[in-house]
């Protein structure tokens, strides 16, 4: 709408990232460059995903017979994200909190900068007012939680001393997280929720996902003796 509105949106989208970085104690570890590294790997992963999509997938998802199947295949490529996050975790020395948080925050920050900055710059600054920009900003905040939780789960899965039952649950959750947007879209479509209510649903699910990851992580940390 105006530059001022753009400022509002930017504050809404980036300040939680900043707070997460500052208050997780990462700044004290000097993990900034590790975050940047995570961002680089994010970009590289996206590039590979795009190449795969462009090479192996038809322009028109309808060729698969239905949108749902087409979208399903498209989101399958998102498994590359998990692999990318795994590499990020591998590249960060240390263990426990800082490792997981650095990977999650770095990854999410790279995403938010690459996917939202241009949108806000072009859209929110224009003359037309639309709630969609505020919604996108709030969605980015939800994504932060999700990425940290996903990073935690990937780290947990790579541990050998995680018991087998939990390992299966974690794997299932990770695979589901790839299809998360597809699932949410379908859910919102089926229940005919509005965008705001859809956002609330997404937030609630992500919160549950995060809490679940946190409790498994707490158990593991207890086992390993890190605090």
């Amino acid at each position: 709408m105006t530059l001022y509105h753009f400022g509002n949106c930017v504050a809404l989208v980036y300040v939680p990232y900043y707070l997460a970085y500052k208050h997780s104690g990462l700044s004290e570890y000097g993990a900034f460059w590790k975050c940047v590294q995570a961002g680089m790997i994010y970009m590289f992963t996206q590039l590979i995903k795009m190449m795969v999509l462009a090479t192996f997938f038809p322009d028109n998802v309808e060729e698969f017979g239905s949108y749902l199947i087409g979208d399903f295949f498209k989101y399958t490529v998102d498994i590359a994200d998990l692999v990318g996050l795994h590499f990020v975790l591998d590249g960060i020395p240390g263990k426990g909190h800082s490792k997981v948080l650095t990977a999650g925050i770095g990854w999410a920050t790279a995403e938010v900068i690459l996917s939202r900055a241009l949108l806000l710059w072009v859209g929110a600054r224009g003359a037309e007012f639309d709630w969609i920009y505020i919604q996108k900003c709030l969605e980015s905040n939800i994504l932060l939680v999700q990425h940290i939780a996903t990073a935690t789960l990937i780290w947990l899965r790579s541990r050998h001393n995680l018991n087998n039952n939990l390992k299966t649950v974690v794997t299932i959750l990770l695979v589901l997280s790839c299809y998360k947007s597809l699932l949410f879209e379908s859910l919102i479509h089926i229940l005919k929720l509005g965008t705001w209510l859809g956002l609330v649903v997404k937030g609630a699910f992500t919160l549950a996902y995060g809490l679940f990851s946190l409790s498994i992580y707490a158990g593991m940390a207890e086992l390993m003796g890190i605090y």
Binding site: M1, T2, L3, Y4, H5, G7, N8, A11, L12, Y14, V15, P16, Y18, L19, A20, H23, S24, W121, V122, R125, G126, A127, E128, F129, D130, I134, N141, L214, S215, Y217, A218, G219, A221, E222, Y227
Partner: protein, 554 residues
């Protein structure tokens, strides 16, 4: 003001050099890269000068806040309304004090009661002729999306409205949807490429003594209305053109056979600029009468002009001087009367109106010829030249009664046929001249499906003009085109550009809304801050729970 706010947000969170770079980015980035959610085509009101008097709306560019017709207050507002909601008084008020006016036309231009129609005609007429308008005035066709915007603006709470509660009023002043209307346009300039084409051609008659008198049939092809792009002029003067083309088609068939060739030369003149004081006729007459070689028009028995032939069931014969008994015009009038008697639903009337030489604007096209001492009359179904029906955007194809047009065409064709072949009263034409109503339909479709305002037809190689010329060339001999061009230094008439444009409607919120949003975002961020601080506690809670479980398991 906002700079301080921005600074406050950024202070402590983001480094200060952002404040240096951000303005640079803003300057470097392309200006306002917006794509409006709503774009509508709009058509600007007439804008022309005639004999030194300005008509229509002078402005073109709009960048103002939209308001409904009941809620505007200053020249910073652009009034958005429906044509049916606009009244003459409110228009006068708007013309003087508002910033711009956007009028949405109804879904269809038919379906009006007689009263509504008269009111719209009067309004349109006054909008055009009362005095010039300095603000931009645009018309837009019915669009459901735009209609919603108009309705929303109407229901928007007007702050001065006492009926609404204080909370409602406050809420609407904070979060109310506003619309910004932007029509990007340069200042309209007088067009210099105006060329008004007039065609003429004739059918040569024959008489044994070789002295063949001439009759001339004249009609203009342009239309007129409050907005040039919306003036389809099905009746005025599409009907005149259709009747003339029908006459040409039928008579040329007879004239091509030496046995059935008529006793008169028939000169057909299709003129332009009929709605701007018959400029086409004026120029054509000057050329013909002042040229050294003789012209058919000089020995014309009479000049018959056709104008608006489907408006009513009465055909008026307008003359500027009552025809003398025994003159060609009076004989034609008798023919017309006798043909009219065969159609009980039709009446034929003569109307006498003297030429007012004191006035610049002539009433009927035949006056152009009468001034030059050529006996002339106009056939029309409207009684007065001031009838608004001759210059309205309501005159569209759906408002034209094709049966009536065919019947009136038939009467005129029969009357001319009778005259040309000297058929005594009471006898029928042989062979019969059959009007082809399919032809009329298709011609009407062709003529009335595109706006025919003179300024739109004056460009080179206009499709409509070319096709009319082709029709002439197909049936008539000696088809020639005369162009009327306004004088460079002291033009009689001038048209201005920018007849249409694109309107962007932006959804905007009041400035206060941003401040409230900032407050909300600050509150949200504070809660995020506390949530993040709470995470260690949550973590230890989880750990304790797990410890407890383990202890139980043991």
């Amino acid at each position: 003001m906002w700079l301080d706010e921005v600074e406050e947000i950024f202070k402590g969170y983001l480094p200060y050099y952002i404040l240096v770079f951000l303005p640079i980015f803003i300057i470097v980035s392309p200006a306002n890269p917006v794509s409006a959610a709503h774009e509508f085509p709009v058509y600007r009101m007439q804008h022309y000068d005639l004999h030194g008097i300005s008509f229509g709306s002078r402005g073109a560019a709009v960048n103002l806040e939209a308001r409904s017709i009941s809620a505007w207050s200053s020249s910073r507002h652009c009034i958005v309304t429906r044509f049916t909601d606009l009244t003459l008084n409110s228009f006068r008020n708007i013309r003087g004090k508002a910033g711009a006016l956007i009028v949405q036309l109804p879904k269809t231009l038919s379906n009006f009661t007689q009263e509504e129609k008269q009111q719209l005609l009067l309004l349109e007429n006054k909008m055009l002729y009362e005095q010039e308008t300095s603000i931009p005035v645009y018309f837009t066709k019915y669009d459901p999306k735009f209609d919603n915007i108009v309705t929303e603006l109407e229901t928007n709470i007007d702050i001065s409205n006492k009926k609404k509660s204080a909370t409602e009023a406050m809420f609407s002043s904070i979060a109310g949807n506003g619309y910004q209307i932007v029509i990007a346009s340069s200042n309209p300039t007088a067009r210099t490429d105006i060329k008004i084409p007039t065609f003429h051609g004739h059918l040569a008659g024959s008489r044994p003594d070789g002295k063949v008198p001439t009759i001339a049939i004249v009609t203009h092809y342009d239309s007129f209305g409050v907005a040039p792009e919306l003036s389809f002029g099905a009746d005025a003067n599409g009907s005149g053109v259709i009747v003339m083309l029908e006459l040409i088609r039928l008579l040329s068939g007879l004239y091509s056979n030496p046995k059935t060739r008529g006793k008169y030369n028939i000169l057909f003149i299709l003129t332009g600029g009929g709605k701007i004081n018959y400029q086409g006729s004026k120029k054509w007459l000057e050329d013909q009468l002042d040229s050294s070689e003789g012209s058919l028009i000089q020995e014309a028995s009479f000049v018959m002009c056709l104008d608006t032939l489907a408006a009513s069931d009465t055909i008026f014969m307008h003359v500027s001087k009552p025809p003398k008994e025994g003159s060609a015009s009076s004989m034609f009038y008798k023919n017309l009367k006798s043909v009219g008697e065969d159609h009980p639903s039709v009446s034929i009337e003569g109307v006498h109106k003297k030429i007012n030489l004191a006035e610049d604007i002539l009433a009927w096209e035949h006056e152009r010829y009468s001034i030059r001492r050529l006996p002339g009359f106009t056939l029309s179904t409207v009684k007065s030249h001031k009838d608004s029906w001759r210059s309205t955007i309501l005159d569209s194809r759906e408002n034209l009664d094709t049966n009536r047009l065919s019947r009136n065409a038939r009467i005129i064709v029969d009357a001319i046929g009778k005259y040309v072949y000297d058929i005594p009263e009471g006898e029928k034409m042989d062979p019969d001249l059959e009007i082809d109503s399919n032809q009329i339909e298709s011609r009407l479709k062709f003529l009335a499906d595109q706006p025919r305002s003179q300024q739109l037809l004056s460009s080179k190689d206009n499709g409509l003009v070319t096709s009319l010329q082709n029709d002439f060339s197909k049936y008539l001999t000696d088809v020639k085109v005369t162009y009327a061009v306004p004088d460079k230094r002291d033009p009689d008439y001038q048209f201005f550009g920018n007849t249409k444009g694109t309107m962007n409607v932006y959804n905007v919120k009041p400035a206060v809304f941003d401040l409230i949003l900032t407050l909300a975002i600050t509150a949200y961020l504070t809660s995020v801050y506390f949530a993040i601080n709470y995470i260690p506690a949550l973590y230890s809670l989880c750990s304790n729970l797990i410890k407890l479980e383990k202890a139980k398991a043991k």
